[in-house]
Symmetry: C2
Subunit: 116 residues, 2 copies
């Protein structure tokens, strides 16, 4: 699979505060000052987190007057879900097509629990 875009997304999401920001934005666009009211940290820290989220391709920013409006990118939502399914599914594109464990009696492949 293509880790090139998935890993930066995971890195950006792997912070509880940024995950909460994504959760907030999952309902719609918010400006920085509105996001900030949900946290204890400082304004520069929020600015840093928003930059990380933008660079990971998770969020877009649009300046409207004094305010920065942040929006969850629909491409991120679809790409992240698709990459996750591809990673966790035991499918044909799997990296380990060359064989299972050399020391396992049970060579049966993993049962796929993903419902598509």
């Amino acid at each position: 699979m293509d880790y090139q875009s998935y890993v930066p997304m995971l890195k950006a999401m792997a912070d509880p505060n940024r995950l909460k920001i994504i959760d907030l934005l999952s309902c719609g666009t918010l400006c920085a000052c509105d996001i900030l009211t949900h946290f204890e940290f400082s304004q520069p820290t929020l600015s840093h987190h928003m930059k990380v989220l933008q660079q990971a391709g998770i969020v877009t920013a649009q300046k409207v007057g004094k305010w920065q409006h942040y929006t969850l990118k629909p491409e991120f939502v679809t790409a992240f879900l698709q990459d996750t399914k591809q990673l966790l599914a035991n499918d044909a594109d799997c990296i380990c097509h060359d064989g299972g464990c050399s020391n396992c009696q049970d060579q049966a492949p993993r049962k796929d629990v993903i419902t598509k």
Copy 2:
């Protein structure tokens, strides 16, 4: 949503080498030495990564003779996918039920792109 188990999973996945290990295990059980052949880093480094993956609830280990057999936890696969969908869906459980951006002309909620 419940970040308590989701964040550690994301943290553990947000390393390209560990993500590749998950990808390898998505097809079935592998022992440590087999996993190691896919990487350039040292054996203690692999041991460290496997510990991280276990502590995040992603992988289980079973000692069989000299070998450690590592398996992707089915509970992880289902929980991670479910948490991801819940995070990215604009649903009723959303954290931001209390309203949208105070400075947006467009107060329309985000269009949900997730197909369930």
